[in-house]
Symmetry: D2
Subunit: 190 residues, 4 copies
Amino acid sequence: MSVRTPDPTPEPMPDDPSGGPAWLSDIELEQARGRLPILYVEAVPVRVDGIGQVVEVGVLLRANAVGEMTRTLVSGRVMRGETLREALFRHLEKDLGPMAFPQLPASPVPFHVAEYFPMPGITPFTDDRQHAVSLVYVVPVTGTCEPRQDALELTWMTPEEAASVTVSEEMEGGRGTLLRAALASVGRLL
Amino acid sequence: MSVRTPDPTPEPMPDDPSGGPAWLSDIELEQARGRLPILYVEAVPVRVDGIGQVVEVGVLLRANAVGEMTRTLVSGRVMRGETLREALFRHLEKDLGPMAFPQLPASPVPFHVAEYFPMPGITPFTDDRQHAVSLVYVVPVTGTCEPRQDALELTWMTPEEAASVTVSEEMEGGRGTLLRAALASVGRLL
Amino acid sequence: MSVRTPDPTPEPMPDDPSGGPAWLSDIELEQARGRLPILYVEAVPVRVDGIGQVVEVGVLLRANAVGEMTRTLVSGRVMRGETLREALFRHLEKDLGPMAFPQLPASPVPFHVAEYFPMPGITPFTDDRQHAVSLVYVVPVTGTCEPRQDALELTWMTPEEAASVTVSEEMEGGRGTLLRAALASVGRLL
Amino acid sequence: MSVRTPDPTPEPMPDDPSGGPAWLSDIELEQARGRLPILYVEAVPVRVDGIGQVVEVGVLLRANAVGEMTRTLVSGRVMRGETLREALFRHLEKDLGPMAFPQLPASPVPFHVAEYFPMPGITPFTDDRQHAVSLVYVVPVTGTCEPRQDALELTWMTPEEAASVTVSEEMEGGRGTLLRAALASVGRLL
């Protein structure tokens, strides 16, 4: 299975309509990947009840490069000059649409740091394109999610479903492990 | 200065209009304080911007038992049979009113555990009535705050003001230290 | 199954050989349990490799009040006048012996707050004697562990074994959930 | 003042004596810095007492590129193919010597994520060479520290000294803020 940390075709940023130098050409990105760990942010979208308890977890369904259906999280690269919050917000909007109304955490400390390597066995996470280090956050969303771009669907699951072996096996790059760590961090992993 | 962890006159809980056995008489509470550490929850109310960054911090102004004005945080005892989330929500509503719309954290892990002792010097925190252990959370509020009960006013401050020596000296029980720890946990302490 | 948060016969504290007023008689403890949530600390003992990665997890084997064998964690009540660190150290020594050399965390913030209720279903954790709130820490130990008191044995397991359903079913009060949360917090839950 | 995130002349890694492709030439590093945020790890070395409480904080004294004396933390780049733990251990050894015996944290989650930008005002942290994102850890050291390379001295300070304005003003890149956040995370910032 081809597993990948998504890095979709860039769109112009609101404050830099030209696309700007932060966007890398395919060749430049390839070169950078050969030299450095690449920094990512990821988000586990959740629905919470009136006192903040997580009741549902959102997982994206997507066709990968070879046409297989896989599940994944909100995820994307941090660009040069961009803060982590800006990157997180941009990727949440890209993957969940403009009406999701995510509540970004007040603290910039992630619940987990996931290290993706091309070769399996070093950590639970793999990405065949690169060495990526990803700061991962649980993000409550209060609005309506409409996946855009290459994501086909956002599926809302109970914590129990999200932690299941079935869902884990469908998730790319070992992110079933990440989903369980997210549930544990909010006291919802049995 | 008399410093105290607030424990106001009980109100009936929504799901137990009788007041119920969780409420202790003054004598029972006094006995318990002589025997055990008492569990509290505290909240630092904050305003956040569109990408979750803290822009303002709310501090309560209150007259203490001897009529002095002091500043404090949202704070109160956890009752027997009550979850931490329920206690946190109850005290937020008690201190900020029913229209504050607090966003309780998805994670039950506090940013800090404050240990209050009657005698100073053991920790930065004191409470002349008891040994209290308090789980402290940063809680964004999105609605309108109308302090109730014995609180006179909720003052919104910038992170810089909240961290100042002046504000610290007005806060009861060493909570200036707690306010700075809250700001540090959200990346807003200079 | 009778599940209980251990509260063994008190021993004199090093700095208070008389036993002192912090120790409660059985009747006083019973009264307190009828009135208030009781504060506990718990520890998941671990072995780490040269760069701090958890390689083994320690689980206690103990006979409970009705003579059944159950597994549990290092656990005990915080006494009045005692800091959380002192309580954690005392219970680690009580359960692992004086040569365990635990490395208590520099941060007082637990990786999890477990809420135990007498009735199941409110949280994953139950304690038929009381409402207990427990601050739970992962604690590397570097010495030799010799369980004392009522614990029969300390079993070292791999992270995979510790997370298994078999071990979970043997743990009292729902602590299998706590063990998985501990593993997730150190990046060792698959 | 020239402020910089240290990136000293590479030494061969134990498992790759050739230096290997993970090391970048000056030109390659310059190119990467023009395109991507660069990932760093940083450590605040501390001394702890017998129950894990921080009693002293270590700060490096170093001559910067223009010969000024500045204070800084243990810090360095994460290389391609290297785990965060390996990078943290490598930089601790580089800056504190081989006999420091650092106790790396069991959890890979940093207490803070510091974002360094070339231009001031975006965050409290600046680095005139690059956009760097740094995962920062508090690391107890139990051995003897002998700063190597370009560091002249490791100064042990009390928490009060480390949090002072005087020390803050001597620290490069805004790291006085980081030092205070470290102290707050271990309950030692007043």
